[in-house]
Structures are given as C-alpha cells and as structure tokens.
C-alpha cells in the first residue's frame, strides 16, 4: 500500500501546515552563523543559529508576542535545534522538510513567574528561481498555555537575476496563533534576496507594518 502511505504522509504535512513562523531555509551552510529577525506590533522575534553540519543547527533566541487586543503578552527565551530532515535537489527546484525543536522559559503578564515551554515544529518548502511555497506548523506549549502557530506562504519573483544581483519577490503569508489572536493575519511582503541577506517588508490587513530579515555570517 505504498500509495496510501504517501497520501497519508502528504495529508499529515498539509494538516500540520494548517495548524505555525515560516522561514526561507532556516539555517545556513555548514559552519555558518545565521541571524534572523521578525518584527511587527504583535510579534517580535530574534534568533541566531550555528550550522554544525549541512543538516543540523543549534541556536538561541527570544520571542515576544501580544494578543490582538493588546492586553496579554508573552515573552519566550529559548534554545533551538534545526534539522533538515530531507531535501530534494531537483534540476530547477529545491524542496525541503525541516524539523524545529525548542525549549525555553516563557513569562506573561497574566500569570506569575515563568513556565517551561516546548516548541517543536515542522516546515515544508518548495522553491524555484521564480516560485516559493512554504507551510509551517509549530507548537508553543507550556503548562496551561497553548499558542500553536501555523503559517502558509506563497510568492513569486518578478524576474530572474544573476547570482550577484538583488532579486525582488512578492510573498504573501497567512499565519495564525492559537490563544492570542482570533484572526488569520494576511501579510503581503516585498522580499529582497542577495547573497548574504534576505529582507521582507510588508503590512497586514490591519495596516500593521512587518519586517523580517536573515543574514548569514
């Protein structure tokens, strides 16, 4: 029953994608350091990781989240592990499945002290020189807290460029976080990619600005 197994695996992947942050390749090449940031009114995240192997990276970061009404806040400081589970290097495309593992301490303005939070997640992405698709799901769980996160992204580049040129993309992201927001945030973003950096600028349907970056050292 191999077809059934593949269908079930694909279904599981799509299901997971509907329930977490999507990054382009979430780690750099072996022995590189990648720094990432995601900034908006209700979501601010910074993270850096070091690629131990072509498939494994370890890092640390911080995440601040706020509910849509601005009343509840969460702050998470965590250490993370990123694993490239599988990669398909195709003639004109690349597809990946990633695993994220995270462990940290979360604090909030509606409970005392800090709690241990675990943040496992997966990401599947497919990219050509002109098209980008990604789905990600990540759990944010602590005792009495559930802020599971899901995200879908689709984008296209305006034109192909040479390796040493900046490439502009239009990317649209839909994301949702359980327990802090009742709405699905839709954000169209202009993405600029060059060798070392990756920048995204946009605004969501509530006209809240958003900025993401990645940089490889």
């Amino acid at each position: 029953m191999p077809c059934f197994c593949v269908r079930r695996w694909l279904f599981s992947l799509v299901f997971l994608s509907l329930i977490a942050p999507v990054r382009a390749a979430p780690m750099g090449f072996k022995e590189s350091v990648m720094a990432m940031g995601d900034f908006g009114p209700n979501w601010r995240e910074v993270f850096a990781n070091y690629a131990l192997t072509p498939r494994d990276a370890v890092g640390a970061g911080g995440l601040w989240m706020r509910s849509d009404d601005g009343l509840r806040q969460r702050s998470l400081a965590d250490v993370g592990y990123t694993r490239l589970l599988t990669r398909w290097n195709l003639p004109n495309a690349q597809a990946n499945v990633w695993f994220f593992g995270g462990l940290g301490a979360v604090t909030g303005n509606d409970f005392a002290g800090s709690k241990l939070m675990v943040t496992p997640g997966v990401q599947a992405d497919y990219e050509t020189t002109r098209i980008y698709l990604a789905a990600s799901a990540r759990l944010y769980r602590a005792r009495g807290l559930n802020h599971d996160f899901a995200s879908l992204r689709a984008g296209f580049s305006f034109y192909e460029v040479d390796y040493d040129e900046v490439q502009p993309w239009l990317v649209i992201e839909a994301r949702r976080m359980h327990g802090l927001s009742d709405t699905t945030e839709i954000t169209p973003m202009l993405r600029l990619i060059h060798k070392r950096f990756f920048v995204e600028l946009g605004a969501n349907q509530s006209r809240q600005a958003r900025a993401n970056f990645m940089y490889i050292f």
Binding site: A24, A25, G28, F29, K30, S32, P54, L84, R87, W88, N89, L90, P91, N92, A93, Q94, E127, T128, T129, E160, V161, D162, Y163, D164, E165, Q167, I193, H194, K195, R196, F197, F198, M214, I216
Partner: protein, 108 residues
Amino acid sequence: MNKLIVLITIWLLAPFAFATTTIKASVNGMVCSFCAQGIEKRLSKLPAVASVFVDLKHRIVAVEAKPGQTLDPAQVSAEIVEAGYAVTQLETLAQPLSEVKAQAKALK
C-alpha cells in the same frame, strides 16, 4: 650568464606550461543566491581556488585554479555536496573562468 638565460626562459614560458584549469559543475537544487552562497564561500576557502563563478539560471558552478596549481574534482564536488546541493556533472576544462562566464552570459 647561462643561469640567467635559463631563468628568463622559464619565466617567459611559465604561463604556457601551467595552462589554466577550470572545473565546471552542473548543480541541482541551486535556486537562490541566499541559499547558494554557501557554495561560493566553501569553494573560495580551498587553497588552490583562484575564483568561483555561480550561474543560477543555468545551474553552473565553475572554479578556476590558481596559476601553477591543480584542482581536485572530487574535492570540488564534495564541497558543493557539503553545502547542501547535488552535483550532476563535472568537467575539467583547459580554459579560464572568464571564458566560462562569457559562454554563460551568451546563453542568456
């Protein structure tokens, strides 16, 4: 005097004796510069490498050896694989990198 003549002769003939070696690889999965820069960085660190050329559109990575040095195709291939990509074809060319670049540009 004879020694001086020999030295001058060697100096004059050296560029012909050490013909430029370039290794050209066809690479699968190389779709964006942000992702592919690892290839350039890793190959640039090899002691015998003078320069690296990456062409995303035609999926080509080419490296030129320093004068008088030779490149190990297996090592070039291994570095690309370590950067996370798949090498589908590897050629050793007796032509400078500038010619490979010019040929790639001409295809666009």
